[in-house]
Symmetry: C2
Subunit: 77 residues, 2 copies
DNA sequence: GTGTGACTATCAGTCCGTG
DNA sequence: ACACGGACTGATAGTCACA
């Protein structure tokens, strides 16, 4: 299952970028119009996030969608 | 709902890249281990594809995940 | 080779709470 | 501010027959 690995990488990217922006999970939840606990589980790689929410998160973090996928196969790493 | 717009762009990207590779939906379905009709609906923007399937499709098409998001806000367009 | 409607099991996403 | 749990509803994954 490299599925879980991919989700973990994605989650870590979200967390890293959020920390760089120095905002809390709660704030990110508010900005992306998602639930606080959902952001939490995404960051821990427990959710198979859908494209619409990926976009929401990217916009909330004000980053390219690309950067959320950094380190995942399929991107040029 | 620009949600549907995003899904349409994504679907069009899949279709364009598939056509460039000159493979059929059936072949892409086989390569990505997804259903033929599922690929069909994704290309027409009717599915909110999840990250795991995005990765599968990108790998099957042998492209960067980035290129699947071209034209969608959040990418540098 | 592709579009489409319909279907069921499973999951996304939210809300409640705890520590 | 965050991890983690249960429980809930609507949406999605994945498949089928038919056009």
């Amino acid at each position: 299952m490299r599925d879980e690995v991919a989700l973990s990488i994605f989650g870590n990217n979200v967390r890293d970028l959020r920390n760089k922006r120095q905002i809390s999970q709660e704030k990110l939840a508010e900005l992306s119009d998602l639930d606080r606990t959902y952001i939490s589980s995404v960051e821990r790689g427990q959710r198979n996030v859908s494209i619409l929410n990926i976009i929401k998160i990217a916009e909330a973090l004000n980053v390219n969608i690309n950067s959320l996928f950094e380190g995942i196969g399929g991107c040029d790493e």
